[in-house]
C-alpha cells in the first residue's frame, strides 16, 4: 500500500497515522507537505490526518481545503482514488466538497477528549471490510468541532444509499443521545462517498492500534485498507 499522509501547517496527528498505517501494512507511508501540487506516482491512499490545520482559526479545515495539494487530491479522488480523512481531515474533506455536510461546534461547546464507541453501519467497504455490520469498536476522540450536520435531503441520501459508515453508540451498540457527545445528526461519526472510496470520520482509530495504548480496536480499519488496496 502506497499511502501518502498530507501535512498541513498545524496538522498534529500525522505521526499517529503513520504508526497505524505502518503497523497494518508493514510499509512506512510518505509524509507530504501541503505546498506540493502533485501526489507521488503510485499513490493508492491519501490520508488527511488530524490536527488544527492553519490553527482552524476561521472554520476547522476551511483554509486547508484551499491548499494547493487539495486540487491534486480532488483529481485523485475523481479518478477513483481512496481518501481517508480523520478528525481535521474529515473537516477538510467536507470543506473541500469531497464529502457532504459540515462539522459544527460540539453541542457542549467544549473540546471533547475521551474514548467513544462506534457502531459499524456498513461493512464490506475498503474501510470496514474487517468488521461485521453492527460491530462496535472503541476509539479516542479529540475535537472541538465534530458535530456532524447536513440538510434533510443529504441525510436521506446518506441513509438511503448506505453511506453512513459509523455512528456513535453505547458499548452495546445502541444508538442513544447520551452516546452522541458532540451532538451529531443521527449520531453520525463517519460517512462514505457514493463510490465508497472516500471516508471521513471524527474519532481516531489510529490512536488505538496497540495493546500498550489500551487496545487494538482501531486496527481493523487499517487492515481493511491494506487488504482492499492490495486487491484493488
Amino acid at each position: 500500500m502506497n499511502a501518502v499522509i498530507i501535512v498541513f501547517p498545524g496538522t498534529n496527528r500525522e505521526r499517529d497515522m503513520a504508526i497505524a498505517l505502518e503497523r497494518a501494512s508493514g510499509r512506512k507511508p510518505t509524509l507530504l507537505f501541503h505546498r506540493a501540487d502533485a501526489l507521488p506516482a503510485g499513490t493508492d491512499l491519501v490520508v488527511l490526518p488530524g490536527g488544527f490545520s492553519h490553527g482552524d482559526y476561521l472554520r476547522s479545515g476551511a483554509m486547508a481545503a484551499q491548499s494547493p495539494i487539495m486540487q491534486a487530491v480532488r483529481d485523485f479522488a475523481a479518478k477513483g482514488g481512496h481518501v481517508l480523512g480523520v478528525c481535521n481531515g474529515f473537516q477538510i474533506l467536507t470543506e473541500a466538497g469531497l464529502l457532504p455536510g459540515a462539522l459544527l461546534r460540539n453541542a457542549t461547546l467544549r473540546f471533547l477528549s475521551m474514548d467513544c464507541h462506534m457502531r459499524v453501519e456498513r461493512s464490506g467497504t475498503p474501510y470496514t471490510a474487517h468488521w461485521q455490520k453492527g460491530a462496535v469498536f472503541r476509539a479516542p476522540m479529540a475535537h472541538g468541532d465534530g458535530n456532524y450536520f447536513c440538510d434533510d435531503e443529504t441525510l436521506a441520501r446518506l441513509n438511503g444509499e448506505g453511506l453512513v459508515a459509523f455512528r456513535y453508540s453505547t458499548p452495546a451498540g445502541e444508538i442513544t443521545d447520551a452516546a452522541n457527545r458532540n451532538g451529531a445528526r443521527q449520531n453520525i461519526a463517519g460517512i462514505l462517498s457514493p463510490n465508497l472510496r472516500i471516508c471521513g470520520l471524527m474519532p481516531h482509530p489510529e490512536d488505538l492500534v496497540d495493546p500498550l495504548m489500551g487496545g487494538t480496536d482501531g486496527l481493523p480499519m487499517f487492515t481493511s485498507l491494506v487488504e482492499s488496496l492490495a486487491t484493488a
Binding site: 501547517p9 498545524g10 496538522t11 498534529n12 496527528r13 505521526r15 499517529d16 504508526i19 497505524a20 505546498r35 488530524g50 490536527g51 488544527f52 492553519h54 490553527g55 482552524d56 482559526y57 467544549r110 473540546f111 471533547l112 477528549s113 475521551m114 479516542p140 479529540a142 472541538g144 481516531h204 489510529e206 490512536d207 492500534v209 496497540d210 500498550l212 495504548m213 489500551g214
Partner: protein
C-alpha cells in the same frame, strides 16, 4: 564606542524606577553602574532584569541549597530547562512554570500562554515536546469569579495544548479559599532529544548574527515580569492592557521550524523570549557567553505602528525566539522559517564590548555593561520566621461522627478528591499515539518513546495543606509523593522540576515557609536520589495581604525500560490486596479531618525518607518482576479512599478485613501516613513473605471481586454509587448537570 543614550530627567527617572518596581537602593546601584541617569529603555531593562521574576533575588540563596546532581543529570538548573539521560541515547528535557497572575486577570489567555511559554523553554533546547501536565490550585468555587477562572483556565490549557498537538497527560487540582484571589496555574512540559544534540543559550562568536524568529512584536505584556513580582491589589485590574494572547498555531509552526533548523549545524545558541522578552533573552544569552551584543530595533518585526525601543525591548509578545547563528548561514536558516511562514530577521550581532547596546532610528537607546547588570543584581537573604510546630493529633481522641462508608462516600465526592474527568476530558491526552497511561489510569502518566520500548513516567504533586502546617515536612512530602507516584507505575524516578509558589517574601513568616520547604525538599531529593534539574519561583501570591498556602509544586520524571511493565490502578477480580508500609492512623491535616470532622488542624504526617525509599524500592522491584496487577500509592484520603479509587477505575469491588486490633478505625481507614502503597496481586501471601524478608511492613487487607466494597462487619456500599458521588461533583459545579 557608541554615543551615550539620552538620560531621563533625574527626578523623573527616580519616580519611574519606583513605578517599575525598583527599590531606592537598587536604583542607586543602577546609577553607579551607569555613572549617569539611565534612559527610559535602560531603566526598563534594569527593572525587569532585577525583578523578582527574572533575578530570583529573594529565593536564590535558598535554591542554591537544593541537590542538583546525579550521574544521569546532563544539565541542571541554569538552562532553559533541565536535561537528564534516560538511556537509548536520549535525553528528557523538562521544566514547570507558573502563570498565576495572568491567569487570574484573563484566565483563558493566561493559562494558554503559560502552556506556550513552558513548551518554548523545552523545545528551545532541541527537544520535541511529548507531554504536558498542569498543576492547578483554585479558590472556593463559590468565591467571586472563581468558576469563570476554573472554566477559563481549563479551556485555555486545553485550547493551547490540543492545538499544538502535545498530549496533556496529567496534573493535579486542589481547592482552598486561600487561593480565592490568587489561583495557581503551573504548567509542565517534557520533551525528548538525542542526548548529544542539546542546544544551550550561551552566545559565542564575536560578529555572529543575532536572529529573531517567530511572531511579530506588539505592545503585549509590557512589564509582565514586574507585574508577576508584585502583590495583587484591587487596582491591579487596571494593569489589564498587558494581557498577552496565545497563538498555538504559530507555536506549532515554531516548533517544527526550530526542530528542522536544529537538525542542521547552523545554531550557536538559542533561547525563547519569555518573561521580559527581548531584554531577558538577549541579556542572558550575551551574559552567559561573556560577550557583548548590539541590537537594531528597526529590524525587529513589528505588529504595530510607531513602537519605541523601550516597548520592543519590554514586550512579552508570545511565540518568539532569539538565536545566534553561525556566520554566513542566514539565508539557509531563513529558508526554513519562510517554509513555515514565520518571521525571520537578523536584528543584531555579537560584539567584544561586554555591553548591550540598543539602537533605534540611528539613536543609541541603551548602553549597559552586562557584567554588573548580572553580578550586581540584588540578592537578598531576607529575614525568616519559622512556622510554629503543630500538635500531633491522636486518632483515638477524635470522635468519628459518621463511620467509614458514609465518610468514604462524602470524601470521594469532595472537591479535593472528586474525579477530575471534567477537566481531563477537555485535554487531548492521546495525540502522538504514545500515551500508555492516560489521566486517571495510574498514579503517574506513562508516555512511550516513539519507536522504542522505553517510556517516561511523569507526575506533579504537592499537598499545600501539609506545607501550611509544616513547610519542611510538606516540602519533603511533595518530593516523596512524586517519587512514590512514579514508583507506583513501576518507573525508576530520576529527577524533578519544581514550581515554588509562595506569598510575599518580604514577610518573615512567608520567607520562613520558603526556606523550610526548600530544606524539606532538599532532604527528600538527597535521600531519594531525585535531584532538582529545573524550576521556577512565583512569589507575591497574595491578594490584599492574604497569602496563598505555600505550594512547592513538584514535577517528577522517571523511566521505564519497557512500557509493557507499567501498571495502572484499576482493580480486576480475584486478587489479594496487600498494603505495603506502616499505618499509625495519622489524622492531623488529613482530608477526613477537614471534610468529615470539620477541622483543619494538627501536624501533617511525617515522611521517614529511609522508609520511603525502602518501601518504594521494594514495590518497584515487584512490579518489574511482573507480580503486580495494579498498584496505587496512598495519599489524600488514606487507605479506604485508595481502595475506592482502585475499585472505581474499572468497577470491581473488594471485601476488606477489619482494622487491626488497637487501632482507631477512622485512623486506619483515613489516616494519611506516608510511604504506603496498595498492591493487587494474585498471591498475597508470597508478597507479604517477600516484604517480611526485606524488612518492609506488609499485610493482606482484602480481596477484589464483586461490585461492592464490603467491610468485615458486613456493611457495604456499591462501587456504582461511589462512582456516582465521585463523578458528579465537577460537572454539577461547572455546568449544573449530572455527570
Amino acid at each position: 564606542m557608541s554615543t551615550a543614550p539620552t538620560s531621563l530627567d533625574a527626578a523623573r527617572a527616580k519616580q519611574l524606577s519606583a513605578e517599575f518596581g525598583l527599590k531606592a537602593d537598587e536604583y542607586d546601584r543602577v546609577l553607579s553602574i551607569l555613572g549617569r541617569t539611565p534612559s527610559l529603555t535602560e531603566l526598563g531593562i534594569f527593572s525587569v532584569m532585577w525583578s523578582e521574576h527574572c533575578s530570583y533575588k529573594s529565593s536564590r540563596v535558598w535554591l542554591r541549597t537544593l541537590p542538583t546532581k546525579a550521574p544521569w543529570v546532563i544539565h541542571g538548573p541554569g538552562e532553559n530547562a533541565g536535561v537528564i539521560d534516560i538511556g537509548d541515547g536520549l535525553a528528557a528535557i523538562f521544566k514547570m512554570e507558573s502563570h498565576n497572575h495572568p491567569s487570574f486577570i484573563e484566565p483563558y489567555q493566561g493559562a494558554a500562554t503559560g502552556v506556550g511559554g513552558i513548551l518554548r523553554d523545552v523545545f528551545t533546547m532541541g527537544a520535541r515536546p511529548i507531554a504536558n501536565l498542569n498543576a492547578l490550585r483554585f479558590g472556593a468555587p463559590e468565591a467571586p469569579r472563581m468558576k469563570r477562572v476554573i472554566d477559563g483556565v481549563v479551556r485555555g490549557i486545553g485550547g493551547y495544548g490540543n492545538s499544538v498537538g502535545v498530549p496533556t497527560v496529567g496534573g493535579e487540582v486542589n481547592f482552598h479559599p486561600a487561593y480565592n484571589g490568587n489561583p495557581l496555574v503551573n504548567a509542565m512540559t517534557v520533551g525528548i532529544a538525542p542526548k548529544d544534540r542539546i542546544f544551550l543559550s550561551a552566545a559565542a562568536g564575536i560578529g555572529n548574527p543575532v536572529v529573531y524568529v517567530g511572531s511579530k512584536t506588539g505592545r503585549d505584556g509590557i512589564h509582565g515580569a514586574t507585574m508577576a513580582s508584585a502583590e495583587f491589589s484591587a487596582d491591579s485590574e487596571e494593569k489589564r492592557p498587558t494581557v498577552q494572547i496565545g497563538d498555538p498555531f504559530t507555536e506549532k509552526l515554531l516548533i517544527e521550524a526550530c526542530l528542522e533548523l536544529m537538525a542542521t549545524d547552523m545554531i550557536v545558541a538559542i533561547q525563547d523570549m519569555g518573561a521580559a522578552g527581548l531584554t531577558s533573552s538577549s541579556v542572558e544569552m550575551a551574559g552567559k557567553g561573556g560577550v557583548g551584543i548590539e541590537l537594531v530595533m528597526d529590524n525587529v518585526p513589528q505588529r504595530e505602528q510607531g513602537m519605541t525601543a523601550y516597548e520592543m525591548m519590554l514586550s512579552e509578545s508570545q511565540e518568539r525566539m532569539l538565536m545566534i547563528l553561525k556566520p554566513g548561514r542566514e539565508a539557509e536558516a531563513q529558508a526554513i522559517f519562510h517554509k513555515w511562514e514565520l518571521d525571520f530577521a537578523v536584528i543584531g550581532h555579537l560584539t567584544d564590548t561586554g555591553h548591550i547596546v540598543i539602537r533605534h532610528k540611528d539613536v543609541v537607546e541603551a548602553d549597559i555593561p552586562l557584567a554588573p547588570l548580572e553580578s550586581e543584581a540584588p540578592l537578598y537573604r531576607r529575614p525568616t520566621a519559622e512556622t510554629p510546630k503543630r500538635a500531633v493529633l491522636d486518632a483515638a481522641a477524635i470522635a468519628d461522627p459518621v463511620g467509614p462508608l458514609a465518610a468514604l462516600e462524602t470524601l470521594v465526592g469532595s472537591l479535593d478528591l472528586c474525579s477530575r474527568r471534567w477537566i481531563w476530558d477537555q485535554y487531548d491526552s492521546t495525540v502522538g499515539g504514545q500515551t500508555v497511561k492516560r489521566p486517571g489510569g495510574a498514579d503517574a502518566a506513562v508516555v512511550k518513546l516513539d519507536g522504542l520500548k522505553r517510556a517516561l513516567a511523569i507526575t506533579t504533586d504537592c499537598t499545600p495543606r501539609y506545607c501550611q502546617a509544616d513547610p519542611e515536612a510538606g516540602g519533603a512530602q511533595a518530593v516523596a509523593e512524586a517519587w512514590r507516584n512514579l514508583t507506583a507505575v513501576g518507573a525508576t524516578p530520576l529527577a524533578i522540576t519544581d514550581n515554588m509558589n509562595f506569598g510575599n517574601p518580604e514577610k518573615p513568616e512567608i520567607m520562613g515557609q520558603f526556606a523550610a520547604a526548600v530544606r524539606g525538599m532538599a532532604a527528600a531529593c538527597t535521600a531519594l536520589d531525585f535531584p532538582v534539574v529545573s524550576g521556577n519561583v512565583s512569589l507575591y501570591n497574595e491578594t490584599e495581604g492574604r497569602a496563598i498556602l505555600p505550594t512547592p509544586a513538584i514535577g517528577g520524571v522517571g523511566v521505564l525500560e519497557d512500557a509493557a511493565h507499567a501498571v495502572g490502578l484499576a482493580l480486576t477480580p480475584g486478587l489479594d490486596l496487600v498494603l505495603v508500609g506502616a499505618t499509625q492512623g495519622w489524622l492531623g491535616q488529613s482530608l477526613w479531618l477537614r471534610e468529615i470532622a470539620g477541622r483543619e488542624e494538627g501536624a501533617p504526617p511525617p515522611v521517614d525518607l529511609a522508609v520511603e525509599r525502602r518501601n518504594g524500592d521494594f514495590v518497584r522491584a515487584r512490579i518489574l518482576e511482573g507480580q503486580v496487577a495494579a498498584c496505587h500509592d496512598l495519599a489524600d484520603g488514606g487507605l479506604l479512599v485508595a481502595v475506592a479509587e482502585m475499585a472505581m477505575a474499572d468497577g470491581t469491588g473488594a471485601t476488606l478485613a477489619a482494622p487491626p486490633a488497637g487501632q482507631a478505625p477512622h485512623g486506619w481507614w483515613f489516616g494519611e501516613d506516608q510511604g504506603r502503597y496498595l498492591l493487587a496481586v494474585t498471591d498475597g501471601a508470597a508478597l507479604v513473605a517477600a516484604a517480611q524478608a526485606a524488612g518492609v511492613p506488609a499485610a493482606i487487607i482484602g480481596r477484589s471481586g464483586g461490585g461492592d466494597l464490603v467491610l468485615a462487619d458486613g456493611s457495604s456500599i456499591s462501587v456504582a454509587s461511589l462512582r456516582m458521588a465521585h463523578e458528579a461533583t465537577l460537572p454539577a459545579l461547572m455546568e449544573g448537570r449530572a455527570a
